[in-house]
Structures are given as structure tokens and as C-alpha cells.
Subunit: 204 residues, 4 copies
DNA sequence: GATGAATGAGTCTTCATTCAT
DNA sequence: CATGAATGAAGACTCATTCAT
């Protein structure tokens, strides 16, 4: 696996893996390309064969992440805006996040940096789309806060809970439950769309 | 205020102000001492008269912040562990945070950096103390998540909600309410200490 | 002279001197800041204390050069457009060039580079101003060529003739004579301003 | 012409064309092989199939240029050293230059670079040969300057006059005329070889 | 209290070049 | 004929830090 021959052809992938690991661990700015290169046992110049700039590495990481979320958003926008849909969005979102925990940890812990990177705006847009899917347009301020907290707690949840003992999967589910409760509370029956039967068709 | 005479003697304070502003805006690593010095119209060397290192500036900022929170923790540990105490902790914490929003924004958005700084450990300790004040020792996982989410939403709340329109004070109250609800839900009547006097023995 | 104390305070000047020497010798691109720093026995960073960028060094060199030429142009524009004025312009220009021969050699031999630098445009402008001072507005193409050749031969003259033996001052005068002849030929009596008496007031 | 098939077999030529274009535009040092390769839509490695080094490309360009000039020199050295021969040399030289204007522009504007390249010396030799053909061995300094100026103005003429309006061919002729006048003036009747047959013994 | 001048270590990035395929 | 992958050397530039004055 670590012979030069075996590494052929997957260097790009290996760069992404190591970079993500280091970015998540020490932050984007404090991770130098020298460090990444050394850990891969290649030269810095090799990185530049695969990525035009340091930022480009982050962008490539982000693009792999954003796809499932984009699909989720697209799917949700075609569903009826029922509570059940919202719950399903939360479920699916939780799973998406689970698949790219390190990247989300990186984004969470390097927000100041990410904001200056070109992906910052894209990321914000996604968050806002999700918020709008959970939130009713004319919701009270308190309910808006509930929705945002729900989203945010799922982002942060994963690694904030790391020091708590317990099975990671159990923790994920606990976070999902609490977050779903918040969304549910933010969508009281009185404010839900009139005909409840549309709800039946919600999730597949 | 901005004449050379008026600036005499409060340079230290002015450095802290500008540094915090820039750290919060662009992150710790991307803010150089040159930038800070230029904005203050002094030389970099002048910064070194007031602070031993760059990290020292952050530490000094942090110390001003941590005091009210330390006091809050000390006070709370002497109170009975009732739900009402927990609610009061939330109220007071919300106000403390309000007083140092930019610093918290900085800590929130530069976690990867802060972790490597000497303040990282101190900060984590405070968070854990607060968590223990809100959480019952043998609480279910879900209730632990509620407490952590409650704390976290108050940290993040302030600047995450910036794009929502509305009076900042209204937003703060909304966040406080939602967070307090989470804490309340995490402390169901059945689990609250049966005899309030047992609370006396709670804190060490 | 070369003790650290003696060097204090004139580092900026020394950088300019060495830089000009190396730029003229090997070209702008092939002269690295490392080279300049090493020859001065300072670090590269020291150069950056005195100049913001590599280009900045060239700009500073150029500004010292351009001043006497600007003055010459200003002076000439206030004189009557007689042949005698033009001859005086050539005389003065030759002396100006003599004072900054290495810089002109640099500009002459690195035109492709200079063009991309910010000084390129400024320089071209000066050349055009000088051309207009020597040339009559509606001159024939051949006379225009004469003027341009006159100017150009003075620029190039100095270092092209280096391999010819003879006293440098003699060579400079020879170039000036030939160039002046070209200008004279480009301003035939028939085309000179009508009233010859205005010519009397020409040179101071 | 630009289909892959049509490009077969003339890649070498295409490299030369693009390289010359870029060298003339931005200079030798600032033109990277990557740039050349990209514009040709081949890889850098492909360039190395056709040329051993970057300098090799310049050398190959130069060799194509130098042949007609070598022929001109050889021819001229066999002619009698009369003024008429010299005039003919100028005429032919002007035409040669016309055929390779971009290369000459490159050499003119990158002298500092060319000097360090292996072609530098070769080029200088040719220039000196030409000078000797135009100049009488024991000419006065002023006449030597005339000859050099004549040569030089023809080199520089082409692109210096670019901003002047007028037909390029007209400009070329104007330059040739002025340059020829300079050569004529440098060869006054009094100094011309008395008996034309003495010309046979001129060149070594 | 503060500055002017400098440093050493490090940053990201680019380049000409090589070579197995 | 040409490429994909990589290298080593070097480039310009920035940073936190120091210290004599």
C-alpha cells in the first residue's frame, strides 16, 4: 500500500485525506503545505501538480461535501412543507453530516478562516436554504431561533460530545432527537398548513 | 479622544480593543501585529512594550472575559441545585455573554486556533463547570445533549442571528428563552432532587 | 565605512546602489533579492523594511532619475520652439543621461520587463514629450525618424560604445554631436518658425 | 490548419512561433514553458521532446535569423569597400530585419538576458562584423558613432515607430534612408579608398 | 513609552527539468 | 510523439520577535 507503485494514481486522494486531517486538527492557517507534503512523503511541488493553490485543496474537499447536502435541499424543496418533511430533512441531514464529520468539524472550528475563503459564501447559502426549509416564513422570532439552534446543534454536536462517553451512534441519535424536538416545537399545529392529509405523502 | 494627548496612558486598552476587533473579524492567525499597529498608528515595537507576545494579547482579553464567568460559577456552586438556580444561571450567563460578544465570537470562530493557545484548556474547563451546573450527574444522554445545546446556542446565538432582522435585545431574550426551555426539559420533575435540602450537599 | 555603525542610516541608499548595479548587470528578473541582500550582508527581510516590494526598488531608482528629466521638459516647454532651444535640450539631456547612465542602461536593456512594470508608462510618456519638443508637429516621416533616432542614439550610445576605445567624455560629445546633427537636419530652415529673431531669445 | 491532424509533424515549428511571440511580448524570463505549452495545448514534457532546454528554443530561433545575416556579411566581405557597397549592405540588412522583426524586437528588449545566453556572444560578433563593413578602419570617433547609430536605428526603428501612424513599409524606408545618410556622412569622399581595387585587401 | 532597524524562520508559489510509460 | 507525475531549487514575501537608542 505504501510502495511508490501502490501510491500511483491516488495521490490526489491522499492529499485530500491528509489535508483534511491536518486542517481539522490544527486549523487551516497553521497547517502548512510543507507539513502535508512531508506526511505524504512527497515534495511540496507535487501538491501543486494536483491543486493550483492551498485554497484549492479546501475547495475540493468542500465540493465533495456539498453534493449530498445540495441533493437533500433539492429534494426537500420539492416536498410538501409539512412537519413530517422537516423531520425527514433532519434525519437525512444528520446522516449526511455523519459522513463528513471531519470536514464539518473543520468548518465549524475555522469559521473565521472559512469566511475569507471563497467557499464561505456558498456554505452560508446552503445553511440559509436549510433554515428556510425548516422555518415557516412568518414564524415568530423564538421559533426562528429554535430552527437555527436545531441546525447548529447538529453541526456542533458531533465533536462537542466527543468527551462524553457513550457510543457515537447513540450520541448522534440523541442529538438528532433533541434537534427534531426543537423543529417540532418551532412548528406548532396552529401554524402548520391547513390540510393535514398532504402530510401523508411526505417522506418516501 | 483621538488626540495624541488623550491617547496617553490608555494605549494598552486601545491595543486590546483593536486586536479583538481584528481577531474577531479575520481570525487570530490572519491578523498580524503589523495590522494592529498600523491601525493604531504606532509601531509594532510599541505593542511589545505592552504585551510580551501576540498570544499575550489574547490571554489578556480572555482574562477580562473569564472573571464574570468565574464569579458566576462560584456563586452557582454555592446555590441549591434547583431548577430555579439553573434558570438564574442561564439568565446571568446570557448577560455576561452580552458584555463580551466580540470575544466570544472570536473564541467560537477560531476554536481550532484557541485549542492550541494556552487559554484553550482554561476555557474548556469553564464550559465543563457550567455544564455540570446545569446537568444532573446521572442524567440520560438526551438530557446531557439538551444542556450542551443550551449552552452552545447561547454562545453561537449572538452572531449567528445577526442576519435575522430584529432588535438585538429581543434576539438575546429569544435565545435565552429557547435555551432555558432546553435546560428545563433536561431537568424533568421526576429527576429533580426529591428533598430540596439535599441540594446543599451537591456542589463540592 | 563598512562597520555596522557606519552603515546605520544609509542602508536604504546602499540597497538602491547595489540593486541598480545588479539590475543593470544581469537584468531585473535574474537579480534576486537574496543576491542583493547577500552582497550587502543583510537579510532579505531587511530589504523589505526599506522597500515594500522588489518593484518598489526599481520605482525608487526611477524616481530619482526622472526628476531632472521632468525639469528639463518643463523648462523646454516654456522656451520658444527654435532650433537653438532644441539643441540646448539635447545638450542638457546628454548631461542628465550621463548622470544616471547605469539606470538608463538598465531601462534600455530590460525594456520587455520595464514595460510590465508600473514605471513603463511613465517612461514612455517622458520619451514622447521629448520627441514632441524636438519634432515639428507636421514634420515629414523622415524627419520624425531623425528625431527619434537622435533621442534613441543618446540612450543607447553610452554603453554601446563601451567597447570602442577612447575617453568616455569624448564619446559622449561625439554622440551628442551626431544626435544634434540629426535634429538639425530634421528642422530644415524652410520649416522653422517664420521670424528668426525669436530664435535670439532661445537659450539662457 | 488547427486540427490535430494538420498539426502533426509541425509541432516544432509551432513551438518556435508561440515561444517567439511570448518572448517578444513579456520577455524571456517572464515567459514560462508552462505558458508556451498551454497556449499550444500540449504538455510541458512535449516541449522537451523537441528542445533540450528552454535556452535551446531561443538558440533555434536565433539560428534561423542569423543565416541571412551571415550570408549578407559573407557577401559584403567579398565586395569592394565602396560607399555603394555599404549602401547596398544597408538595403539588404533592412530587408533581412524586416523578415524577422519579432526576433529582433526580442533581442533588442531583452539585451540583459541575451547577454547571459550563449547566443549573446555570437550576436555581438555579427554586429561587430557589420560595423566593420560600414566603418573605415581609421575613421574618426564621430564617424564611428554615425555607423553604430545607423545600425542601431535600424534595429530599434521597427517597433519604436509602432506608435507613429503610417504604412509600415513607408516607415521602414524612412528609417533606411536616415540610416543610409548616416553611413554616407561617415564615409566622406576624402576618406574613401582612392583606388577601388584596394578593397580586395580589406577584410581578413 | 515608544521607535527604527533588523533578523531568522517560515509562508505559498513557480520554475525548468526528468523519466517511466 | 507525447503525457502524467514528480522533483529540487529557488523565488518573492510576511511574520513574530528583539534591542539599542
Amino acid at each position: 500500500m505504501s510502495t511508490p507503485q501502490a501510491r500511483r494514481g491516488n495521490t490526489r486522494q491522499r492529499i485530500q485525506d491528509v489535508a483534511l486531517e491536518l486542517f481539522a486538527e490544527h486549523g487551516y492557517e497553521k497547517t502548512s503545505l510543507r507539513e502535508i507534503a512531508e506526511r505524504l512523503d512527497v515534495t511540496k511541488a507535487a501538491l501543486y501538480y494536483h491543486f493550483k493553490t492551498k485554497e484549492d485543496i479546501v475547495i475540493s474537499l468542500f465540493q465533495d461535501l456539498v453534493r449530498p447536502i445540495d441533493e437533500l435541499i433539492t429534494w426537500a424543496q420539492e416536498q410538501p412543507r409539512t412537519l413530517e418533511t422537516k423531520r425527514e430533512v433532519m434525519r437525512r441531514y444528520s446522516e449526511s453530516l455523519n459522513g463528513c464529520a471531519p470536514l464539518f468539524r473543520f468548518m465549524q472550528e475555522n469559521q473565521a478562516t472559512v469566511r475569507d475563503l471563497s467557499i464561505g459564501e456558498t456554505f452560508k447559502r446552503r445553511m440559509y436554504d436549510l433554515f428556510e426549509l425548516l422555518n415557516e416564513p412568518d414564524a415568530e422570532l423564538r421559533d426562528q431561533v429554535r430552527c437555527i439552534t436545531a441546525l447548529f446543534s447538529m453541526h456542533a454536536g458531533m465533536f462537542i460530545l466527543q468527551k462524553l462517553h457513550g457510543d457515537p451512534e447513540d450520541k448522534r441519535k440523541a442529538v438528532l432527537e433533541v434537534a427534531t424536538e426543537l423543529v417540532t416545537a418551532a412548528n406548532p399545529p396552529s401554524r402548520r398548513p391547513a390540510r393535514p392529509d398532504s402530510a401523508q405523502t411526505a417522506a418516501p
